[in-house]
Amino acid sequence: MSTGSLQARAEGWLGNNDVRLLIALALAIGGLYALFSVVLGFQLNGTVNTLRRVAFLSAIYAMLALALNLQWGYAGLFNLGAAGFMAIGVYTMGILTAPVTASPPGFGLPLPVAIVGAILVTGIIGGLAALPAIRLRADYLAIVTVAFSEIVRLTLRAPEFANTRIAGVAFGTGGATGLSLPSNPIRVLFYTDPATTAPAPNALGAAIFSAVEPLGIEETLVIGWAYVIVLCLCLGLLYWLMIRIGKSPFGRVLKSIREDQQVTQALGKDTRLFKIKTFALGCALMGLIAIFWRLSGGYASPRMFKPIQTFYIFIALFIGGTGSPTGSIVGGALFASLLFEGPSFIRRVVAEYLQLSNAPDTLVSALAELGTLDVTPLLAYSVQDVSISALRLMLLGIVLVYLMQRHPDGLLGHRKAIASSVALSQQATREDDNE
């Protein structure tokens, strides 16, 4: 491909309104968190780290929303078991990479092999889980999948499988204590021997670390940002992939299944196969994205895969609007930055500037004080560290009710992308004929 055509292609992408919207959104979120950091008096390292965390979570939730959009937005498959498939992906990878001598032991496979294995396992289990539900209506599929996801989580937590041996093969999930995962693979770029605890930087690592050291930026932060950049590239790839699928004849069949399965079948499409394939593909993607999510932390435990995780992804999808890949990214980024991370930053800002004491023990008693028109107890309760998850849930509820009332189709509204690989106008037909 020549430089000229690459440049033309890049200009084409940047000229695209959706891409411009996404770039503007990223800048806006970045600006907001830079402001938070200034208000909270963070050093440069703290500010850059805040931005990294927000960018990381935004990218992860945007990708998860894209995967769910394939199932729910395109094909109308109501997968309430996303957390379970994410867990399968992460644990399969963890068990495949864990050294044979570790406790719990694993298979000692290299990470890339384990990731491919995890994608396959999650995809196959996703396809199998869809089998009994394939003839069912959307609500039954939801019940089957949410139950399935809980079975997965409880199985992973069960002490019986924490360190076990089946058919002579020793492996384990680590039970409730969780499972150690390989260290962040991006370290390979910066260290000569990344597996060791205090590795020596390679040429690239040494150059970058010494360049950012005077700014007070730590090595771990450089690695963290490198990981986020790779994630953003993956997000871009997934976005492109979803647009391609949406515009393909495959996507066209999915759209028609969502609308009327019987008619689609009457036109000669084997809707069962399309549904199984879509479900398997979506689940495999969820497994892979969950691996991206947990690899940076180096650790996984069953409590990370509670059903609330699935609801988070649904909320992200609803915010942006189902059926549109751009909407999924907007929803994922807004969910992660404002709803998920927002409350704790607001809490810190409030705590920094308002001196609040004597916080009530429960939300109910905090609300009861409102009767005397005194909002301080509620404010004091809200800014406590322990009440953040309650506050987050309350905020999610409010946002959901607002969305249902005002924007049932999501913030980007109902977007109709034409499901076709070519322009459909009659003029386009004639132009082709004249070629």
Binding site: L241, R244, I245, S248, P249, F250, G251, R252, V253, K255, S256, E259, D260, Q262, V263, T264, Q265, A266, L267, G268, K269, D270, T271, F274, K277, L281, K416, I418, A419, S420, S421, V422, L424, S425, Q426, A428, T429, D432, D433
Partner: protein
């Protein structure tokens, strides 16, 4: 128009004798003890327009459902083009070249008229997800899409609905939906089409147009079996008429013979039928 080239269409007669494309033998279906189709047997000749009539509740739509695999029969057999298709799923039936429309037009309302048409053709390369994505394979998909687009525009012109090509199908009028549904089944390149009340809710001008298309398509070799309540339409346009009553075939034959059949008159006037 033919893409898959169901060649049988062109040789509708063999040795001067009409070929039977659809054979239905002793079809039965009950729902919770209520018999919808008691014992239905009939044959449809290739290249014909055959009418299926009968009072409400005679079992016409259920018969359609049983033939096209929307429901499984409790007994009996369906043979299409000498292949037994009893118990086939509806997509398998459609892939044999036998497609149907529904009594109430079921357009895919959130998709545009063109998308509705582009969906229908069978054996689309881009229906395999990897071909839809990988660059080299996608080139083949794009080529096929261009061909389908051309077919779709031809079909729109045939049914004179090209002015609503980019409209969401949900915005069409009742009559336009009927036209779209017929255009859509024809896009599957079928040999035979079952039309369930294609003229219900269609204004007289449009009705004439639709019937006109039916005859044009018949000339091209398509076979039609259609349910209709308007006796004039049936009597003036069908080669053969099959009359159903209370889940069974009452009689079948040329329109004139059927029209004067006493049992048919009784059935329509609500008299007790003595068979």
């Amino acid at each position: 128009m033919s893409k898959n080239g169901h060649s049988a269409r062109s040789d509708q007669t063999r040795n001067g004798q009409q070929e039977q494309i659809l054979k239905v033998e002793n079809l039965r279906k009950t729902f919770d003890g209520i018999t919808a189709v008691a014992d239905v047997s009939f044959h449809v000749e290739k290249g014909s327009i055959t009418g299926l009539i009968g009072p409400n509740g005679a079992g016409k739509s259920t018969t359609f459902d049983l033939i096209t695999g929307v429901q499984r029969p409790d007994g009996g057999a369906v043979e299409f083009n000498d292949t037994e298709i009893t118990g086939y799923r509806s997509d398998q039936v459609a892939n044999q070249g036998l497609v149907r429309t529904f009594q109430i037009a079921r357009e895919l309302s959130e998709m545009t008229v063109l998308e509705n048409l582009m969906l229908a053709p069978q054996n689309q390369a881009g229906e395999a997800v990897w071909r839809a994505v990988l660059p080299r394979a996608r080139a083949q998909v794009v080529e096929q899409e261009k061909e389908l687009r051309e077919q779709a525009w031809e079909m729109l012109e045939l049914f004179e609905i090209e002015h609503v090509a980019h409209e969401s199908a949900g915005n069409l009028s009742g009559g336009q939906r009927k036209l779209l549904e017929m255009a859509r089944v024809l896009m599957t390149d079928p040999e035979m089409v079952l039309l369930d009340e294609p003229l219900a809710g269609v204004n007289p001008t449009l009705e004439e147009k639709l019937i006109d298309r039916l005859h044009t398509l018949k000339e091209q070799g398509y076979t039609f079996l259609f349910v209709e309540h308007d006796m004039d339409v049936i009597m003036n346009n069908c080669d053969t008429v099959i009359v159903m009553h209370q889940g069974s075939v009452l009689t079948e034959g040329q329109p004139d013979a059927v029209k004067n059949n006493e049992k048919v008159l009784d059935a329509y006037l609500g008299e007790e039928v003595k068979i």
